[in-house]
């Protein structure tokens, strides 16, 4: 039906191997599963192969290296696709409704800047999380002898994400999307013997399924309009010009609901906090490297539709909805994060909030792309949103791994402290249910005991908060500035624009609160005093990501945020690093436009001073006498102690207030959903049961009863007497004769 765009075909040698980025982890899945089954409990398997961890690691490293080669090649040659071959072909009713056209679903890879960004994030973080897992999972006595399942599902999960990113059509995107959905279910429910984990897995699976139904509807509508789901067809401006704008907006809106489910945005966000039931590496995987980024990727993929000249001004409503959902979620999730006591739950809500920033940024970018005359800003806004995705993924991956490190060491310390119980070492979780290793109320003062982890947490938090010059600062500034840029043009955007600005302050508060409660102040329990950093493997990814996050400023200097410039698909600006940095500094801190100048400083002020300041006043405190943290953390702790002493105020009134309770209950969303679902599902079930009993059972029973009656009366003919049979035979012959007579 449609013509394809002239996407240059890349035919260099490495691109042909790009499929292995996806295939290697996918093939490792059965291998690890099989070997694990074979050697389960075997000494060599547990100690040397780390129950499959050391099989998964080289695979992920290979995937990462292949990804890097592909990325480098992309920077050299620009957007391209590589068609591997036909996968499925079938007849389809043609446009005129009469002829049968041949349709082909192909297999191929598609590379542009969005692909490259996500590919790097996914493959790099998957590799680091794999390293972390080897430290975390293999010293965890809870799950002895079933870690091979973890690694098998882990590599499958990674291949799902990498495949989704590299896919060259929405169909393959969807297939890998669902593969991730399955793996998230398996991994969240890894500790399936805990009812809460089984429940969380089910919840995650079903909630995202709600979104997926809409995604399928959207894809079917898209197929109906374009006759294909290949990017090369649907992104062609000529083909876009041929379709109805309202219908396209509807289809994209449906797909957006799918993204909302996958990226845990309001109102389908309820699964994400519960997903913390999985092992911590899984949380890192879901929150940083894979799952939640899928929804963002899907929305980012829609960019060509909004950028098409034929659609100019037609899709702004959808762009607004995307931004508004983002804005609402950003504030809501941040507010809930205020009161969470569980270390991982704070991070979970922080993820929701930050993803919402990215959605707002994407919404603004799509609005700008769709509005004539604003296209040049769209590129910057789009770049800022994607850059925030990058920064958030790196920081959140690090934060989760650091929190995993804290929880792991808390467990160990708890075990050491309560060594007197004679239950043996295995399954120690069973008998210490009353001790919550994830609760921040049990921590405190860990900065001096876990220097690497505390540093990683500090840098990650700073990046999420957007402290000037660190990681997320650059991208968050871009998102806020662009949201306001749109708001000045379209008053509806004041909602998301205001939300993201408010969210900056809230982020500053809850991230500081988390860090201070965990690492500053005096240890709140005996266990916290005995914590040491001792598990091997874990520090490797923490240190790596700390440096990556800190070096984000270089990427900003290389005009990372401008990378989606479609003038020849330049990856980086052609300015040099120093010039780029200077430009970026001048642009952010000394903006010539008075409005953005003020906006920047307002954002910095509330995000980096007001938010953390309040947190310090409430939760700050000096370490225990005689303990000292590393040189870069001690001043912060001292400052927090001083602020706390000077400005400390009693917040018990707030803690008792209705709002606080409501936030603790996650604004009752879960309860509402449960009640509504119960009413809806139970009502529907009763209806179904009635239908089943009355109609289906009724029909069958009527048939059964009448046939029984008939057979009872027929049975009387069987007298057993030979003479009756003779009579019947004679009568039968007579009947046959009569029939022959009549017929002839």
């Amino acid at each position: 039906m449609g013509t394809t765009t002239d996407i240059p075909e890349i035919t260099s040698s490495f691109t042909e191997y790009a499929i292995f980025i996806v295939l290697l982890p996918m093939l490792a899945f059965p291998v690890i599963l099989f070997l694990g089954r074979l050697f389960n409990g075997n000494e060599t398997w547990v100690k040397s192969a780390k129950e499959g961890g050391l099989i998964a690691l080289p695979i992920m490293v290979a995937s990462f290296i292949l990804s890097l080669i592909l990325i480098v090649e992309f920077i050299g040659s620009g957007t391209g696709s590589y068609y591997i071959g036909d996968w499925l072909s079938f007849g389809w009713i043609g446009a005129d409704g009469m002829t049968i056209e041949e349709k082909v679903f192909g297999v191929g890879i598609y590379i542009d800047h969005v692909t490259v960004m996500l590919l790097f994030v996914a493959s790099f973080l998957c590799m680091l999380i794999n390293i972390f897992s080897i430290g975390y999972m293999n010293t965890d006595p809870v799950n002895d002898n079933r870690n091979h399942r973890f690694y098998a599902e882990f590599v499958l999960f990674c291949s799902g994400m990498l495949g989704m990113v590299l896919a060259d059509s929405f169909l393959w995107l969807f297939i890998f999307w669902e593969l991730m959905g399955l793996c998230s279910y398996l991994l969240i429910g890894f500790y399936y013997e805990r009812p809460s984990a089984a429940y969380a897995a089910k919840k995650a699976f079903l909630t995202t399924r709600v979104g997926d139904v809409f995604l399928v509807i959207g894809l079917v509508m898209l197929w109906n309009m374009f006759g294909s789901l290949d990017y090369s067809v649907v992104f062609n401006p000529d083909n876009i010009a041929a379709v109805d704008a309202g219908e396209l907006q509807m289809a994209l809106g449906m797909m957006f609901i799918g993204a909302v489910g996958k990226s845990a945005q309001f109102p389908l966000h309820v699964w994400l906090p519960d997903a913390m039931e999985g092992p911590t590496p899984v949380s890192a995987l879901i929150h940083a490297a894979t799952m939640v980024n899928a929804g963002l990727y899907l929305v980012a993929r829609m960019f060509p539709f909004f950028g098409a000249p034929a659609m100019a001004g037609e899709l702004v409503d959808l762009a607004f909805i995307i931004a508004a959902i983002g804005g609402i979620t950003a504030v809501m999730a941040a507010a809930i994060a205020f009161v969470q006591d569980d270390l991982k739950k704070v991070l979970a809500y922080s993820t929701m909030s930050q993803l919402a920033y990215i959605f707002t940024g994407l919404g603004a970018a799509l609005w700008l792309a769709n509005t004539p005359g604003m296209e040049k800003y769209a590129i910057v806004a789009f770049g800022a949103a994607l850059f925030h995705l990058f920064n958030h993924a790196m920081a959140k991956g690090m934060l989760f791994m650091a929190s995993g490190s804290v929880i792991h060491e808390m467990h160990h310390a708890h075990h050491d402290v309560h060594h007197h119980d004679d239950h043996g070492d295995d399954h120690h979780d069973d008998d210490d249910d009353e001790f919550d290793a994830q609760s921040m109320s049990n921590m405190g003062g860990l900065a001096s005991k876990m220097p690497i982890t505390a540093t990683a947490m500090l840098v990650g938090s700073a990046s999420i908060m957007g402290l000037p010059l660190i990681g997320g600062f650059w991208s968050k500034e871009g998102i806020i500035a662009n949201a306001w840029r749109v708001a000045l043009e379209d008053p509806r955007f004041f909602l998301p624009a205001f939300c993201v600005l408010l969210g900056a302050a809230m982020t500053g508060f809850y991230m500081s609160r988390m860090w201070l409660k965990t690492f500053a102040g005096k240890p709140k329990t005996e266990v916290a005093e005995h914590v040491h950093e001792q598990t091997p493997w874990i520090p490797i990814p923490l240190v790596t990501l700390t440096f990556v996050t800190l070096s984000s400023v270089i990427l900003a200097g290389m005009m990372f945020t401008h990378w989606s410039s479609d003038s020849g698909y330049a990856f980086f600006s052609d300015k040099g690093l120093i010039d780029g940095l200077l430009y970026e500094f001048e642009h952010v801190f000394l903006n010539h436009d008075a409005f953005y100048f003020v906006l920047t400083y307002v954002a910095i002020f509330i995000g980096a001073i007001v938010g953390p300041g309040v947190a310090m006043a409430l939760y700050g405190g000096a370490l225990k006498e005689g303990e000292k943290a590393k040189g870069w953390m001690q001043p912060i702790i001292n400052l927090s102690a001083r602020v706390n002493k000077k400005r400390g105020f009693d917040n018990s009134a707030w803690a008792e207030s209705g709002l606080s309770v409501a936030l603790k209950e996650r604004l009752y969303f879960d309860k509402w959903y449960d009640t509504a679902m119960l009413k809806l599902v139970a009502g529907f079930a009763v209806l179904c049961a009635t239908f089943d009993r009355k109609v289906i059972d009724g029909t069958i029973k009527t048939i059964e009863r009448s046939s029984q009656k008939i057979s009872l009366s027929v049975r009387k003919l069987t007298t057993g007497s030979a003479r009756d049979y003779i009579m019947m035979a004679a009568l039968g012959v007579l009947v046959i004769y009569a029939m022959l007579e009549v017929m002839i």
Binding site: T718, T719, G720, S721, A722, R723, I726, M727
Partner: protein, 100 residues
């Protein structure tokens, strides 16, 4: 020469008597005899038709039927003997096991 039509009438009469006997009689041997009557009625009809059409096929059929009737009697009587051994009677009213 007797009109073949009369032979047919006789044949029909014999057939009816045989059928009637087979329906009504209790004694298995009598029923067997009635069956023989029916067979002979058919033979008669074959022969009459053969004569009328001047075709030997009817004769052949009649001879076949006689042979079959003879063997049938042999089998039938053997069955009745076995039946008697089981039931101490050859009344067909006693042989109604098929009902169950």
């Amino acid at each position: 020469m007797i009109d073949p039509a009369w032979v047919s009438v006789l044949s029909a009469l014999l057939f009816t008597i045989g059928l009637w006997g087979a329906f009504t009689r209790k004694n298995a041997i009598v029923v067997l005899m009635c069956l023989e009557l029916i067979l002979n009625a058919a033979n008669l009809q074959f022969v009459a038709a053969a004569i009328q059409h001047g075709d030997a096929t009817g004769w052949v059929y009649a001879i076949f039927a006689i042979a079959i009737a003879a063997s049938e009697v042999a089998i039938g009587l053997a069955i009745f003997l076995a039946m008697y051994g089981q039931h101490e009677s050859i009344s067909l009213d006693d042989v109604n096991l098929l009902k169950h």
